[in-house]
Amino acid sequence: MSRTEQASRLLKFRFRAMNTDVEVQLAAGREEAEHAAALVKNWFETQEQRFSRFVADSELNRLNRYTGWMPISAAMDEVLSLAYGYIGQTEGIFQPGISQALRASGYDVSFEQLQQRGLPQSGIERQLDSRQSDITDMLRDEYDYSRPRWIQREGSRMVHKDPGTELDLGGIVKGWAVERIADLLQRTLHIPAGLINAGEDIQAWGTTLHPMWSVQVTDPYQEERNLIGNIQLRKGAIATSGVVRRQWQNRDGSLSHHLIDPRTMEPADTDVLQCTVLGQHTSQCEIIAKTVCILGSAEAVGWLNRHYDRHDVLWMTRDGSTYFRGNTDTLAERWPGFDLDHRFSLI
């Protein structure tokens, strides 16, 4: 067996965490791979206990209940710092202070439970009505969505929220967790090639001894079906967001989804069904994908241009069109097979 063949062998692990499937592929010996996979699982479980708003005693929920300055963990400090930066980068479209709006829209339990619950029952209707008033109050108070709703004291790991603010970090934690543990596997365990995929947020790495990673993009309407075309990468990150999968029916028959537009504090009214971003960092790709979904095609292109964004971004709209904005010079190499209706070059 050649050295290349030996180096390219993979072990693949799967488990559930953060209400999603986590896939770990590692180019390593069996014992080493099992050790690494156990670390990855423990890492995700630890972060789920810390950041979930569906775990009663999570650090996030304790923070949301707390008033005044609260000491926080290093992980919470890092994620809040990242979130702070992303609020600026997205001009406030990424806004963790939307927890009440998510609950008001009906996303008050984990999505699995939401699916089991089906149509809202009468008791839940009362909950929705009472929570709606919180959101109305927020809007009446000229809620400034473009600024963070908390402050951190540099070097002390202390945080102070604005009164009445409840944070939801679901839009960033998964990507951050993927990126951080992938970094550990590369730099500390020296695993030469691998891929972590948590709910389709991916960080992959490898060397020239390894084959390129090939990532299929699933159809927004049919999870089992892939779109025609795939993404080829040696090393980097991919994240996808969309409004179709995590949506539910309200009591009036209308559909809600989990991507809240902080300008209206309601599920985004958007033409984008699904957006996939290719870059270097999973959390950054995740934030960009969500922002494009919330903004819609026209505003998204303007936002990406204003920030001279360098990521490859592909999205599908309700009318069946496929858009691409990114490096068109490497389009055929990185995104082979995609049939694009609209393409925008980097500026």
């Binding site: 670390l39 890492w43 892939n226 991919i238």
Partner: protein, 130 residues
């Protein structure tokens, strides 16, 4: 005349020294991690990459996690699957602890070498709205 020239020379020396000091200071700031982070944040680019550069020296997040797992028994492998279609009693090492790996299932690909327990990966994955 000589005195005037000497004064001009001193002024020039003072000016040059000040310029060099500012340049050196800027060079120091420019190469510091804090500058990288602030610059990236101001430009809305790759904050995470500069943040991870800072983390290189001392990774409080990973230290915190390691300490947490040292003090708890939360890293059981139960429920994991290693895609081989079989479970075995071999051992996996959790964070600083030996643990049973019951539940791992190795991927059963057509071209795998079953004797070694490896599967020949196809380097494929999927992404979609979750």
């Amino acid at each position: 005349m000589t005195r005037k020239k000497r004064n001009q020379w001193r002024k020039w020396q003072a000016s040059a020294a000040a310029t060099l000091t500012v340049a050196a200071l800027f060079q120091y700031v420019r190469t510091s991690d804090a500058f990288d982070v602030a610059y990236a944040a101001a430009n809305g680019n790759d904050i995470s990459s500069t943040a991870s550069t800072q983390i290189d020296a001392q990774d409080d997040v990973m230290d915190e996690w390691t300490n947490h797992t040292d003090n708890s028994d939360a890293s059981s492998n139960g429920g994991n699957s290693l895609d081989e279609g079989t479970t075995d009693g071999s051992k996996a090492i959790g964070p600083n602890q030996d643990r049973s790996s019951g539940g791992w299932i190795i991927n059963q690909n057509s071209n795998q070498d079953t004797d070694s327990g490896y599967s020949r990966g196809n380097y494929q994955s999927r992404t979609g709205a979750s």
